[in-house]
Symmetry: C2
DNA sequence: GCGAAGTGTGGCAACGATTCCACACCGCGT
DNA sequence: ACGCGGTGTGGAATCGTTGCCACACTTCGC
């Protein structure tokens, strides 16, 4: 544990201290190839006494692969992505890999820039919540395994781990319809990706199942951020005084909707029923607790990590695989008969 | 943008395609040293046509420093740490650095293991929410700049970016005392680190200021997790039926406290006033909104990143520096006269 | 007693990019 | 003509680790 003055100890230093060659020291330390027990012990002792830490950079250069997996996500501050990252980190860490997080803030250019640096770092695999097809193409074009998580690009040739948004949204909407609601607002912040599209699709399917006409003016497409969702909810309510229920397409939107309902002193569920996609802790802390579609977010991340590890190790080859995880609708107190 | 079959293009390939030597190609691409304008153009063209991405690993080996900053945090799923990470990532990213996240889950061994891998990766700097002194010592012993963020080890010889917990807690407690509360419970999950200690200290100072006797039985020290906090809150309430207010030492504890109050159908603030340290979005969504001490979490991370960048560049040298950020008490509806 | 198989070890060439360094060429002032 | 400073280029060493290969020594089996 003695700290060597300025320079860090190299394997050469260790070898010299143990009276062997660098090659032998390497074999003794890594366990690849022969090394006499006595030598092994001597080298190990020398290494610890010098505080030797092998240089992963040199090792990666030689082995031509690093132990870093790139993770591109949109916004760490959104608990959804944070949980996703946590799930990824846990599985990667257990397998001896580290996670390099690139936050693209929903910006395509930053996504591309991030991917370029990951490429430069020669990461052996990546997990992305894709924004544009370009980023994925760049990676796969260079032969880097990519796993898309949460959403998927249409033209995608990657593995993907997704939540069945359509199914979850259909269930939640059906619940409202069963309660007799006929005018159900749908608030969503994006319809570019499979998440927004899938949830809208589920909503429409449920309407069709119940033979309720789909009214596109009930769909409020809002800008990103809870503030925008709040404003849009207000407009929606003004435009449609006959609304009896609202479906919020994700946790951020739900936050905005909730704020607006609170501001207007609307009583939930007496005046209006509410369901949200993407359950979050606050939804059980507010009164009434919000009925929500829970996504297995951490498992989503974990599964993505497993998939990318399998690709990296070559254990999994061939056709892109898509893994679907089922969300679960949880009825709480924010919904009641129309 | 042509993808080269199997192998990735090296600078040698680019050089050959441009009809120059690797050295010249390197100079043309990096801008270090002479390179004729015409050559520069040719090399650049060759690089893009081959889809050349410089190998950061080789570059790091040669330059003996990488562009990866290690970030060791306790729990990405806690919004506090997620925000912290987001703040860090933003500043690092803008400076051209990437963030390697190690989640230690509050476990000292995992912290140490994480630090060891960071060391192996030859990161030029690290940002940690420290658990044990050992990890910091290991890093500083190897000459790696460390910035402690959120909390600080007592024996620490590192830079640190901290929130003035004591001050914030004092203000929040004083607020309760001014409202006439005399029996104020303090629920906290740890007293090993400067955060827990500081908040307790602020609580006690406020009591002293108001000449209210400190009663250690009002301090509930709970295990980690909201569930534990809820249970402990229940016990605290049973033990002290005369309690008129509760101070929750952080967002997780506050969650547990809130759940328990809800479960018992206690009305806030009629039956009990509540303040929390570490403001979170849910605290304004519940009814009544929770009075809380807001920490500038993202700025905390950003500042830590700035500090570590300054150390790495050598722009900042000498004595460890400690930066204090001031929290802000926000009065909301969860507190009223005793 | 001799090849073969099994143990160990050190030398050396990579991995891919980056610098020194030497050198070459040009123009220009003396 | 000569030297000199400014441009521009290629050669070669280097970063720290690994892994192939050659070689040495031991131990067997026949």
């Amino acid at each position: 544990m003695t700290a060597t003055g300025k320079r860090r100890a190299t394997i050469g230093d260790v070898a010299k201290a143990a009276g062997v060659s660098p090659s032998t020291a390497s074999r003794a330390l890594t366990g690849h190839g022969y090394a006499a027990a006595s030598v092994k012990k001597r080298v190990l002792a020398a290494a610890t006494s010098l505080g030797y830490v092998p240089d992963d950079i040199a090792r990666s250069l030689k082995r031509r692969t690093s132990r870093l997996v790139g993770v591109v996500i949109s916004d760490l501050r959104n608990p959804f992505y944070a949980d996703l990252a946590a799930g990824i980190e846990e599985v990667l860490g257990a397998a001896g890999f580290q996670m390099v997080v690139v936050n693209d803030d929903g910006d395509t250019d930053r996504e591309l820039a991030g991917v370029r640096t990951l490429l430069a770092m020669r990461v052996p695999g990546t997990i992305v919540t894709p924004l544009s097809a370009a980023a994925g193409a760049l990676l796969t074009g260079q032969g880097v395994p990519v796993v898309e998580v949460d959403r998927q690009m249409a033209e995608s040739q990657c593995d993907a781990v997704l939540v069945d948004s359509s199914h979850g949204a259909r269930e939640a909407t059906a619940h409202l319809l069963e309660l007799g609601h006929r005018r159900v607002g749908f608030v969503v912040d994006e319809l570019e990706w499979t998440t927004g599209v899938g949830r809208l699709d589920g909503y429409r399917r449920a309407l069709r199942d119940a033979r309720v006409r789909y009214d596109s003016t009930l769909v409020a497409r809002v800008g990103f951020g809870a503030g925008n969702a709040a404003a849009a909810t207000g407009e929606l309510l003004d435009r449609h005084p006959d609304l009896t229920a609202i479906f919020a397409a994700n946790n951020v939107v739900a936050e905005g909707v909730w704020q607006e309902l609170q501001r207007r002193r609307l009583r939930v569920p007496a005046d209006l029923s509410l369901v949200a996609f993407d359950d979050q802790p606050w939804m059980t802390m507010v009164e009434p607790a919000v009925s929500a579609v829970r996504q297995p977010v951490v498992r989503l991340g974990a599964k993505a990590a497993e998939l990318v590890l399998a690709r990296m190790s070559g254990e999994l080859t061939g056709e892109p695989r898509t893994v679907w995880l089922e969300p679960e609708f949880i009825r709480r107190a924010s919904t009641r008969e129309a």
